[in-house]
């Protein structure tokens, strides 16, 4: 029961800052024991996720090929020191960063503009919205072969390029280092712009038309109104999308694995694909586990960033 005691003091310490009971702080109507109610969720999460984390930490100290019957050898920090000296590991982190910044900027640009357009009087607007949103409900695994097909050396994209007289641009997109990464980014932007759009669209619905009218009367141009008034008002959405993007970039697996096979020569390697390859193809379970722990720490840091804007908002 000692853990319970520490738990409750920690809970009390947190309470003044916490988000709970905003409306009911003065009248504590809480009644009945709540613990049984949260047990299913806690059991599921602790049983799957916390168990997995603990086990991954354990495996990360081993040299092991993953077969239950094969011997494993305790190697301590070896997997981690190997990781810090592994150029592919750093390459994967570099790719994650570049991938996040690029996809985030492009998606924001398109999503924000499109949301503003959909709030103007566009003919067939519902149809446009559906077109841009459909990709978000489709599985990346379903669309991956389509992007392979499009960006194949003999694919539709090169056909379009030569049709409009840009033959010199045509190339085997999946075979080049930079172009392969571009294809992975295009597939991702294609998939998630709909979500960016829908969030900006919702945020813009909250802006009072009087503000925009006033700006217009003052002679502000469309572009200026958008940049000086609408964009700052959408800042919470932008922050939420940025943090979502960081976590999404860290989780990236399906698209590079299926579209470019993380290649050519690690050119589209991400942490997820590298863990999978290390574990399933090379059978280095210990090393894969060490990279998983690094990924986990990065994701938690990203998650803390995600929670921050909420706190700030509630604090003010």
């Amino acid at each position: 029961m000692s853990t319970d005691a520490t738990a409750s003091t920690a809970g009390r310490r947190q309470r003044p800052r916490s988000t709970q009971n905003q409306g009911t702080r003065h009248r504590r109507v809480a009644f009945g024991a709540g613990l049984p109610w949260i047990i299913p969720a806690v059991v599921l999460v602790v049983g799957m996720i916390y168990f997995s984390i603990a086990d991954t930490i354990h495996v990360s100290t081993l040299d092991w090929n993953g077969f239950i019957l094969s011997p494993s050898r305790f190697v301590g920090w070896d997997n981690y020191s190997r990781m810090f000296q592994d150029p592919v590991f750093w390459l994967a982190i570099w790719h994650t960063g570049v991938f996040f910044v690029t996809t985030f900027v492009v998606q924001t640009l398109i999503g924000f503009t499109f949301a503003a357009l959909m709030h103007s009087k566009v003919v067939l607007a519902p149809l446009y919205k559906v077109i841009i949103f459909i990709p978000t409900v489709l599985a990346p695994a379903t669309m991956a072969p389509v992007f392979r097909h499009i960006f194949d050396a003999k694919g539709d994209f090169n056909a379009i390029l030569s049709a409009v007289g840009l033959d010199w641009l045509a190339q085997p997109w999946l075979a080049g280092d930079v172009t392969a990464m571009l294809v992975v980014m295009v597939a991702t932007v294609w998939q998630w712009t709909g979500l960016t759009f829908i969030l900006y669209y919702a945020a813009m619905s909250q802006i009072e038309t009087e503000i925009l009218e006033a700006a217009r009367i003052d002679g502000s141009s469309n572009f200026r109104t958008l940049l000086a008034i609408v964009w700052p008002l959408c800042r919470p959405t932008t922050v939420a999308l940025a943090t979502l993007g960081i976590i999404g970039a860290l989780k990236t697996f399906d698209v590079p694995y299926l579209v470019t096979k993380a290649g050519p020569n690690h050119a589209t390697e991400f942490l997820g694909t590298y863990i999978y390859q290390t574990m399933v193809q090379q059978k280095h379970f210990g090393y894969a586990a060490a990279i998983s722990i690094a990924l986990l720490i990065l994701a938690i840091v990203g998650g803390v960033v995600m929670r921050r804007p909420r706190r700030e908002k509630e604090g003010s």
């Binding site: 109610w37 599921l44 086990d55 566009v122 559906v130 097909h149 399906d254 399933v280 994701a299």
Partner: protein, 262 residues
């Protein structure tokens, strides 16, 4: 947003919107067009002739339905507990769940694979259902908790005065109010479990246990990169999802938007 008073600006806006939207349509057109290349409708016949399509769909349905049920039940119960009931160290428990919020699937690979082999759960759908649900629960609770907190406590007071116990209050007073948030949770869990690729690929090796997201890869391996078969398979897996979205457009858009913001 944009000034649309002059004809010129209206045309400009329409053009810009079209210019943005068309590239989003092209991959879908390329998919459909490519799936009819060569043998035409025969490509689809070829996919169905493998006989695995109904199995894959049934497995995906089973996995999605079970994940939704698990997530819905544990999230609703948990969120009610967190929002309205007395729990010692409440915020610590909540924090325990929140840490799992950003968990990348890849972190679970090694332990799940090893555990599944140990307990002979490899190739069983449950080996995919449980982790998928566990990954979804923290977020569902976060969403549902803030929703329950928005329900006035006077309602609970009134229920208690009328002699209802906790279970009755939850069942008759609270649950009927949660429909909007339940819709978001169901849609999010559905999309995440139906579209899941990594866990099924790792855990389900037996062809009779595989899911729709593995259907295109089936053709890559089986017919050594048969592009038309792959694309026909992609269309077959995409059509039901697009149909579901078009039928429940509002629910999907709200669900995904809620999923991004909280």
């Amino acid at each position: 947003m944009f000034d649309t008073r002059s004809l010129l600006s209206r045309i400009g806006i329409q053009l810009l919107a079209t210019l943005i939207a068309v590239p989003y349509l092209l991959p879908l057109l390329a998919m459909v067009h490519g799936s009819f290349a060569g043998a035409g409708i025969g490509n689809y016949a070829k996919v169905f002739a493998t006989g695995v399509v109904p199995t894959y769909f049934a497995n995906s349905l089973l996995i999605s339905a079970s994940s939704i049920a698990l997530v819905y039940v544990s999230a609703m119960l948990g969120a009610f507990g967190f929002a309205k009931l007395r729990i010692r160290g409440k915020e610590v428990w909540f924090w325990v769940l929140l840490v799992a919020l950003t968990m990348p699937e890849a972190v679970l690979l090694t332990p799940l694979f090893v555990t599944a082999s140990t307990f002979d759960l490899y190739n069983e759908l449950i080996a995919v259902i449980l982790p998928l649900a566990a990954l979804q629960v923290p977020f569902a609770i976060l969403l549902a908790r803030s929703f329950f907190e928005g329900v006035p406590s006077e309602l609970i007071e009134a229920g208690r005065i009328d002699g209802a116990n906790v279970v009755q209050i939850f069942w008759f007073l609270m649950l009927p109010l949660t429909r909007p948030i339940a819709g978001a949770i169901v849609v999010l869990t559905l999309i995440n479990s139906w579209n899941a690729y990594l866990l099924p690929m790792l855990m389900l090796n037996d062809p009779s246990k595989q899911v729709v997201t593995l259907l295109p890869s089936f053709f890559t391996s089986q017919y050594t990169n048969d592009q038309t078969g792959v694309l026909a398979a992609a269309v077959i897996t995409a059509v039901p999802v697009i149909a579901a979205y078009l039928l429940l457009q509002r629910t999907f858009e709200r669900g995904l938007a809620a999923g991004a913001l909280k």
